[in-house]
């Protein structure tokens, strides 16, 4: 599989996915 960070689009999509994962983590395991 191609590294998503090779492209700008892949980088932005990875950042958006990471945002959702971290919000889920915050709401379910921290706050």
């Amino acid at each position: 599989m191609k590294n998503p960070l090779e492209s700008v689009a892949g980088t932005i999509i990875s950042g958006l996915i990471l945002t959702v994962v971290l919000v889920f983590f915050l709401k379910n395991f921290l706050a």
Binding site: E6, T11, I12, L18, V23, L30, A31
Partner: protein
């Protein structure tokens, strides 16, 4: 005067932050693609000699300024933010992401850029490896900036807006 301090810290945090992340986006959205095209027509030196060193100077020191102003702004909440507790969980995630990005700038991007731009001696093989590491470190920071900005904007003063 003491009452003004958090406002001044926030103001500086935003000014330094815009400079840092603005240049990060410039590198990723403009310079990387421009260097590829400029390399093909032999005009890359204009960027590597005159633009990149100046951009990197403001980039790496703005990163330090952003972190220091952020730490000042957190004040007494600094430890709670980094330990993700006592209502500082959201801003703490933002602070951790920003800290990882600062380390990335000084430990991976800047040392490798010095090799690429000829500021330190490096063979062509070392330069090729440095180019790859610097590119991936820069892209990693661009990726991390997306959740970092989300938690900076919504993690503390406006957390109720999204129920964080």
């Amino acid at each position: 005067m003491e009452a003004l301090m958090p406002g001044i810290a926030r103001w500086l945090h935003v000014i330094f932050g815009i400079t840092w992340i603005g240049l990060l986006y410039y590198f990723n959205l403009v310079q990387m693609a421009a260097l590829k095209d400029a390399g093909a027509d032999g005009t890359a030196a204009g960027i590597t000699k005159h633009v990149a060193p100046r951009a990197l100077f403001y980039f790496r020191w703005a990163a330090v300024g952003t972190w220091l102003a952020g730490a000042w702004l957190l004040g007494a909440g600094f430890v709670d933010a980094f330990l993700l507790r006592n209502g500082m969980e959201g801003i703490g995630i933002g602070a951790w992401l920003g800290t990882i990005m600062l380390i990335n700038v000084w430990h991976f991007i800047w040392p490798n850029q010095k090799k690429i731009l000829g500021m330190v001696p490096a063979t062509d093989e070392v330069k090729a490896k440095a180019r790859r590491v610097a590119m991936l470190a820069s892209r990693t920071n661009m990726m991390l900036s997306i959740p970092m900005l989300f938690f900076m904007a919504n993690g503390l003063s406006h957390r109720a807006a999204l129920g964080l």
